[in-house]
Symmetry: C2
Subunit: 426 residues, 2 copies
């Protein structure tokens, strides 16, 4: 080991010891937390190339014991042991949920310990406050893993895209729902069956609401929107619709139009007013759009900057090691910047969102066949969509681009509207 | 302007003046260089968010005069004016070519001026030497724009992917050839016609050799491979094949197999030997691969890390503002790190490449119909490919995975081989 002589490193009983090694703590030894601890062992060489002193996980905080784990001797149950150890400079919070993660993170930052997290719930709810505390205490709060799992997106937004005026972000931000939509499209299986399959494979929770109702994707687009504008976009203010009402018939219609239905988080900046339009909903994505080919559990974030034009970042949005990799990349940045704050522009000033009713888009609509004639007169840009396998009593069409409010006015004049899905444009 | 009072900034005659502004110089006022200068004006606010002091382009070096340019008064013809001005801390080299870019870059770095470039030719030829000089002089040499234009790839490789052991990079690294292949596929026009079209639209040079023979893509995969291993992969050592021999018939065969032909740069790490297999060649890419949907002038870099798994970075690989955006993101990093070196691991130790003859892949082959019987016995995994529009005297097939050397041994036993194109696996 070339750095050995310099840093006085040696290996005893498989454990490396080095007087200058940077000491870290991992909070929560679940899927991602254990991935973080293992990564420091598996990819020790890569870690050393970035941080020559090396990083050692000194403590693992968890309520449980792990007697069979090779890391059993590092497990502690009292957070104060970590807080009171002046050697600890970096912490990873992979507990999830708001409490006690919020309290622990705050206390650590107040002592100048940098915190890196995959906890989107906490970041979406308290990001700006934690960033402010980090800045005041010359340490950092980083959260690359909170959006898009292993995909580098937060750091590129803060560094590579710094010269840009970002005007649009469209993300496939939830792997569970993207897996479900892909399976429905490719295997013609119903929503209920594919949900069961996803649960059996461990892709979906037993209580799948946060995923399938869009809440998870909504938190993530709230984080990305906040980073876009430097203010706070509250996820509670974002219109949010999941995929639980998408049927095999909708999927078949989409396919007949050369489109695929995906749950998207969308954030658009209005050039004139400077306000943001944000929404989480299923969209029909055309084959020509780069997001169309993003299948199964993969995520992708499509970004439009005023000068760089279109970019897309694609990868695994979840999973033990992809997520751990993103957390560790943040931990290494913190280890390289001890005593300094890595700035992220996100204030707690609330961002005014534009009225979603004033946003324009194209719509796909299913109605009773008896309303076809009327609909063709009501909706601007009416275009019929035919599907051999559709019920005989049904008609479907797409509209031209129209305001949500005008669309609703027209739709109210029909006796029944069976389904509405927005179209994503190229 | 909120920072105004603090930094003593004011605007006179449209020019901003600030005693603390970081002074920069732009070498080469061509497409990218002028984009860099304009970007600092167009996106001044974004620049200020990252570098609150602001950045001012004080000099533009070019042999020509630009009397009608709003930046005419900044144009100088003598490099020594820039070199001898102690205010200059950051330089952008957008001249292209090896000389005088190499000499100018070296001289600037020796004076502690950081240099950011889009010049892949210079980076591929002298990257490690310039990185060493930068380090010795506490400044930086950054080259995000040298690969993939506006796509963030170099910085993510050095930061976000630092914890990873990268095992594979596959890139669509040349926009001109990707545009040509996309047009041939979608519009059924010949190579000659599409080349003319690309030249008319300004996508291809009058002398298109560097693009269509793969030299440009080869330099870029050499840079990415070098960053993967931290040593030098010389582009002269990489087997390089362009697209000039791809015909409409090949494209039709690919389409019939659900594939598209793309010019790829491939770099793979052999786990057992630690050596690298690198190649630039046209490949038939299956529809299921994320690179399949990368069309027209877009570029994409597919990366596989041992823990993060598959990632893809997609965007505009060329063009005035996308490339300028990448150069400026580097310049801002340098402005934030004056007096410090931003480390990039790339030594001038030569990387041993594995023997390409020992690499395995699947092949698509066109032969005379008379050789069909023999070929089916010779090639392991022989699978016939039929195409209605193919000449009557022709047969085509794909092989199973086999070593290049075994493939050549078999191919030599046929009276004629009309075309060989490698298949990219999922």
């Amino acid at each position: 080991m070339t750095t050995g002589a310099f840093f006085n490193t040696y290996v005893t009983n498989g454990k490396e010891w080095n007087s200058k090694m940077i000491k870290a703590a991992v909070l929560g030894f679940g899927t991602v937390g254990s991935g973080v601890v293992e990564l420091f062992d598996i990819n020790r060489k890569s870690v050393r190339r970035r941080v020559p002193e090396g990083v050692e996980v000194k403590y693992i905080l968890d309520l449980r014991e792990f007697p069979d784990s090779p890391y059993a001797d590092r497990v502690v149950h009292d957070f104060n042991i970590i807080l009171d150890d002046p050697e600890i400079r970096v912490m990873c919070e992979t507990m999830g949920g708001k409490e006690p993660a919020f309290t622990f993170t705050k206390k650590a930052l107040e002592r100048g310990i940098s915190v890196c997290t995959s906890n989107k719930e906490l970041v979406a709810a308290h990001g700006p406050e934690l960033l402010r505390i980090a800045k005041e205490n010359n340490c950092s709060y980083l959260f690359e893993a909170s959006v898009g799992g292993g995909i580098p997106i937060i750091r590129p937004m803060n560094t590579s895209l710094a010269p840009e005026y970002i005007t649009r972000i469209i993300g496939i931000l939830n792997g569970t729902t993207n897996y479900m939509m892909t399976r429905m499209e490719q295997e013609d299986i119903s929503f209920e069956d594919v949900l069961k399959q996803a649960q059996d494979r461990g892709y979906a929770e037993r209580n799948p609401e946060a995923d399938i109702e869009g809440h998870d994707a909504c938190r993530k687009i709230a984080i990305l929107s906040s980073l876009m504008c430097g203010k706070t976009v509250r996820y509670e203010d974002i219109p949010c619709e999941g995929i639980s009402r998408i049927s095999m018939l909708d999927v078949a219609y989409a396919r007949s139009m050369g489109r695929a239905i995906k749950l998207l988080g969308i954030s658009e900046r209005d050039w004139q007013t400077g306000t943001f339009y944000v929404r989480t909903a299923p969209y029909m994505v055309p084959a020509s759009h780069p997001l169309h080919g993003v299948e199964d559990v993969f995520n992708a974030v499509f970004v439009h900057g005023n000068l760089v034009d279109n970019l897309m970042f694609y990868g695994r949005g979840a999973g033990k090691f992809p997520t751990a990799s993103a957390v560790v990349s943040d931990m290494l940045d913190c280890a390289l910047n001890i005593g300094e704050n890595i700035p992220i522009r996100w204030s707690d000033e609330k961002m005014e969102l534009s009225d979603p009713a004033l946003n324009s888009s194209r719509f796909f609509v299913r109605i009773p066949a008896s309303e076809k004639e009327k609909a063709s007169r009501l909706f601007r840009g009416y275009e019929e969509v035919s599907l051999a396998s559709a019920p005989a009593d049904e008609a479907a069409f797409t509209t031209g681009s129209m305001k949500e409010s005008s669309f609703e006015d027209c739709a109210r004049q029909l006796s029944e509207v069976r389904k509405v899905i927005r179209l994503l444009e190229d």
